[in-house]
Amino acid sequence: MAKEYNAVCSICGQRYHVCNTCKSMKTQKSWRTVTDTAECYKIYMTVYGYGNGTIPKEKARNILNGCALPKTFQPHIRTIVNEIRNPDGNT
């Protein structure tokens, strides 16, 4: 039976299924609260850290360059990702 897509990834905007009562979710995959994949969660934490000043721009850029970036981004996330990836500071 197909599972209901009841969540949207905070980074790539893809719809996915999440179940907060599942044991695997609680013990291993808490990142599914906000993202559909661990890679997207890595991007989430990088954007989050850059936004609150805990991760400098260069370090954030290095992290993103090592990630498998999704094909799509939520618009406001794309803005930040472009800002990070552009060494000249232009979006």
Partner: protein, 265 residues
């Protein structure tokens, strides 16, 4: 000296009920606000009749007993036994994660929580609900790594949620926080209530001279909480009702369900 052998006495009240581990005799709990106590014993009778059906004698067996009472105030120790579980007490080293709900006024696009939220890093709180002008659920905002319309960001260490510029009003925030001073208990579906030794301490009064007080102790060597139906009142004056099934200790040849002791104060 005349022997102390009271017959008719006036029951005054139950002072307290103590629960012991039946094997170690360790005192486990003490309830001091007991009201509406009842003690009930039943047996199954097998009548023996003559040829004309007249009853000659009745043999009784399968003796059972129940002790019921209401503690005037709620007891978490009692509730833990009714849940067939243990009360977990938090410490600094082992905190309890408890749910928290707050309704906060948004000031300068931010709200500050009372406790530090815990959960997925960077997304400790997934959703919040704005309260609209009709004092009802308004827009639902979702956590995000960056600010945007319909989103908010969270700084858990600073207990701060930041909303998009221009967001005003009140917001309902539900989250979980670690508490060093908390207890928790949970009812599961597969546990068995413990067996306890109960001592019911009470006062009797001399029927002629009410100033003469006697101490009574009714002991139940084996009492098991009856969880077939547990009603927990959720009102201030409802009290906390409990029922025990009285059992005979297997190794006790005399098969006592209870004993009554009365002595001078």
């Amino acid at each position: 000296m005349t022997k102390f052998n009271p017959n008719e006495v006036v029951f005054e009240k139950i002072r307290y009920i103590e629960e012991f581990d039946p094997t170690t005799r360790q005192l486990l709990s003490r309830l001091t606000n007991v009201k509406e106590p009842t003690l009930n014993f039943t047996s199954e009778g097998t009548p023996v009749t003559d040829a004309q059906g007249a009853e000659i004698v009745t043999f009784y067996n399968a003796a059972q007993g129940t002790l019921s009472y209401t503690n005037a105030i709620h007891s978490f120790d009692l509730l833990a036994e009714q849940f067939s579980s243990e009360k977990v007490v938090a410490t600094e080293d082992k905190k309890i994660v408890a749910p928290v709900s707050e309704v906060l006024e948004i000031m300068d696009n931010k709200v500050v929580l009372k406790y530090v939220p815990v959960g997925t890093a960077g997304a400790e709180i997934k959703y919040v609900q704005l309260v609209n002008d009709s004092n009802e659920f308004g827009e639902t905002l979702e956590v995000s790594a960056a600010a945007a319309e319909g989103k908010f960001t969270i700084d858990a260490a600073a207990k701060t949620l930041t909303f998009q510029e221009g967001t005003t009003g009140r917001v309902i925030v539900d989250y979980e926080a670690e508490m060093a001073e908390a207890i928790s208990l949970a009812k599961t579906t597969d546990s068995m209530p413990p067996i306890r030794t109960l001592h019911v301490h009470c006062y009797f009064r001399n029927k002629c001279d009410n100033n003469i007080k006697y101490i009574g102790v009714i002991t139940f060597p084996r009492a098991q909480i009856d969880i077939s139906s547990v009603d927990v009142s959720l009102t201030p004056d409802g009290g906390h009702a409990v029922t025990y099934k009285l059992q005979k200790p297997y190794c006790d040849e005399s098969g006592k369900l209870c004993s009554v002791f009365v002595y001078k104060d």
